[in-house]
Symmetry: C2
Subunit: 465 residues, 2 copies
């Protein structure tokens, strides 16, 4: 398990802030060890660094009160949504107050005519879509976890249908945020576009709680499509599958989802879900549109896939059949872990230009084989983003060192191809080493912005920079 | 004509920088009055404030050399593309060096498989599309002018098809920029998405040359659609037309363009282009997709339009017919000016949630009538963005005061509706007064970022903030 360096603690400040906040928040400030541990990093590869207390504010004004108290005493504030981030984003390396959005789950407004809504940050994507059900609208971004929208905005998350609907950066219209000095600001608005000043919305999205704490979000929504169709197709090689992906995107087929499972991942799914898919690279697709449109899209893809050497192409609009086709994708994480129950999974997250995708995936597969790591691959390949799930024993220094080496090697490879070390998981603590490799001196400008907006460094210290 | 306050000049610094740059750039540094005047604001309502010299660099390294010299002597640097901005963006209120991208028009790379390209900032959108013609790809953003891509990125420009393809913020993947101290940084990359650190790409896009000077741009491209269809439909009222727009967007019809001309604008076009369109509000649409898809989209819109009271609905896929249908839109600016040849046009640029669009347009029409200003309206109504073209005599203090009052009143109205004072033109000098009305205390954070990245304030001073 990777132990990230702790940072110096401001003991007096922490004690003073705790006393102040306890007086204000009472039972809504918790200091028990178990709850503190639960509110720091709980996934496998980064070790847990608990905060000193967990606060449960309900409103922007309460968040501002917490930040003002922490600012006065120079105490770290670490925002927490559902704790499903993967890179130590919610750890407290210098202690401080975890600010949980558990009790900030209101849907403040849904504007059906404008296809937007304003929410508090603690509501999860599934809860929001449940709330929207009667409106005929939905929010499309779907990371693997049922994450909070605040966490998704803070990490610039995406998921399986970013190829059509974009990432959080494309779907946040505006934010309310509490800045490091406790001021409340509103960025963006409800207009579809604006050229008015610096784009603070996009600056806060992906800033992982280090520049401001998001307390309200205005999101773009989409109409639930009239029809959906799903398709699957097997390919002899990853390269052949990627060739079909490139042709599909180039022809402008508006795919909603286009996902790759490599042969090992398909084998894992077959074993786990008792399926009999050909154990070779598989593409799974989803199309959104009109009845005629989704049929046309599926058929066009079928022709492209055949040209690229695809076999066993099948498509359907039946909801039951669609669910069955997607079962392989939905089960992939658990199926992968079942390949070796003695180990846990560490996920990589590179994203490259799609012309380099086959080369990058193939090189990654060769490297994990060399290293003797079982490592199935799934990818949001319409974006060039893929995850290698490294199955390692988190208590084995040898295996975690190998995983660490592999992750760094893959980040460098992706960056050398014009890509990124993280397509959707974020930097947190875990990928800080790669930030300068990717962005070079631009990191100095990120540091300058951080210092300008949070001169005492109280907002989620030890993350990103 | 609005005279914007000049700022203090650093005469010694300007003289020193000019001497240094003259030695390096020779004839590529011009100081004649005519060329200096041409490189400051040349549209009607903001008065011209010429720079002290115009430099014509060819490379990022030459831009960096200019900025280093100006930084050493604390001299303003004002980037200049084609000079088609509307709000005084290229004025030099404190003098300084205009940095023209006239000689930076290379297409550095086109990656057909990845649907992206990397260009120098001086190439115009039409020249880029001409260059791309053989590839089957195109760049969709189309402001009225044949602007440079650098200027479009700097002002977060859009145009008629943002409703489908987004604005510059959505179509810039990465940038090379020279910062205020002369350092060269690279932001973003060629991956379709990234969660690696602060989004400096989106921070620079729309920063109007005040945070860094863009010297290379990596853009997303689109495949030229297999088919296009166009449609027009007249409506009894602006409200009825907007109702059709809302229904079209809600149903998820992927319109590429949906433009509104109000009755006065249609009358102007009829007179100018000898057409006989019904003189009532008109929607013009364009659909991109497959042959079957664009037919389906046009027919769906026809049904929606009929429900909203639309008449004289017509659609076609014939290129000649399409051009004829779009003639009204293409001629609208010149047709408007022809309504009163004694006056010039000042364009407003508010953008509101589409549910408020009818109310906002109708209020604007009533107000211009009250003020006795002839003012046709065109709008990119799928985004909620519209332009009122105020026909006024720029030499009449009474008329320009009325125009100024109207612009401020309309900005306030749009902001009160959750909208913005500028959908696509930017702040420049002309809209600085509205920035705090729209963004409140968030402007303080913009100022903090400006100070952090450009502590001496040499990059395009007097703009935005």
């Amino acid at each position: 398990m990777a132990r990230i360096d702790r940072l110096p603690r401001n003991e007096d400040g922490i004690a003073a802030a705790l006393a102040e906040l306890k007086a204000t928040f009472g039972e809504r400030l918790q200091t028990g060890q178990a709850i503190r541990d639960q509110h720091a990093h709980t996934t496998t590869w980064v070790a847990n660094q608990a905060p000193d207390a967990v606060a449960f504010p309900r409103t922007t004004e309460e968040v501002a009160a917490i930040v003002r108290s922490c600012a006065a005493h120079r105490v770290p504030v670490i925002p927490f949504g559902t704790g499903t981030s993967l890179e130590g984003h919610v750890n407290a390396p210098a202690g401080g107050i975890c600010l949980s959005t558990r009790d900030m789950t209101d849907v403040i407004a849904v504007n059906e005519a404008d296809l937007d809504c304003t929410i508090q940050p603690g509501i999860t994507r599934k809860a929001l879509n449940e709330h929207l059900r009667a409106t005929g609208l939905f929010f499309p971004i779907d990371p693997g976890a049922d994450a909070s929208l605040g966490g998704m905005a803070a990490t610039r998350a995406s998921g399986t249908n970013a190829v059509r609907y974009g990432t959080m950066k494309d779907n946040v219209l505006g934010l309310t945020a509490v800045m490091a000095d406790g001021r409340v600001i509103h960025t963006g608005g409800r207009a579809r576009k604006s050229s008015a000043g610096y784009d603070l919305t996009r600056l806060l999205v992906g800033s992982e709680g280090t520049l401001g704490i998001i307390t309200e979000i205005t999101l773009r929504l989409q109409g639930i499509p009239e029809a959906m169709s799903s398709a699957t197709c097997s390919f002899p090689t990853v390269a052949a599958a990627c060739e079909a992906v490139i042709a599909t995107i180039q022809m402008g087929v508006p795919v909603a989802r286009i996902e790759l499972l490599d042969a090992l991942q398909v084998r894992a799914v077959n074993a786990y879900s008792k399926l009999t898919l050909p154990e070779s690279p598989l593409l799974l697709l989803e199309f959104h549109g009109t009845e005629a449109g989704v049929a046309e899209q599926a058929e066009t893809f079928g022709e492209i896939a055949a040209d690229a050497g695809g076999t066993e192409f099948t498509w359907t609009t039946s909801p039951e059949e669609r669910t069955k086709l997607w079962q392989a994708r939905h089960d992939s994480y658990w199926a992968s872990l079942a390949l070796d129950p003695t180990r846990k999974g560490i996920s990589t997250d590179v994203c490259v230009p799609i012309s380099r995708l086959a080369e990058c995936v193939t090189a990654a597969q060769a490297r994990t084989q060399e290293l003797g790591i079982t490592a199935p691959v799934v990818g949001h390949v319409g974006d060039g983003n893929f995850h290698v799930l490294l199955l390692v024993d988190p208590e084995s220094p040898e295996e975690t060192a190998k995983a660490d080496d592999f992750t760094g090697w893959l980040a460098d490879l992706a960056i050398s191809m014009g890509g990124t070390c993280t397509g959707e998981h974020g930097i947190g603590q875990g990928k800080r080493a790669y930030l300068r490799r990717e962005h070079g001196d631009a990191v100095d400008d990120m540091v300058a912005i951080k210092r300008a907006l949070d001169p005492d460094g109280i907002l989620n210290p030890g993350k990103i920079l």
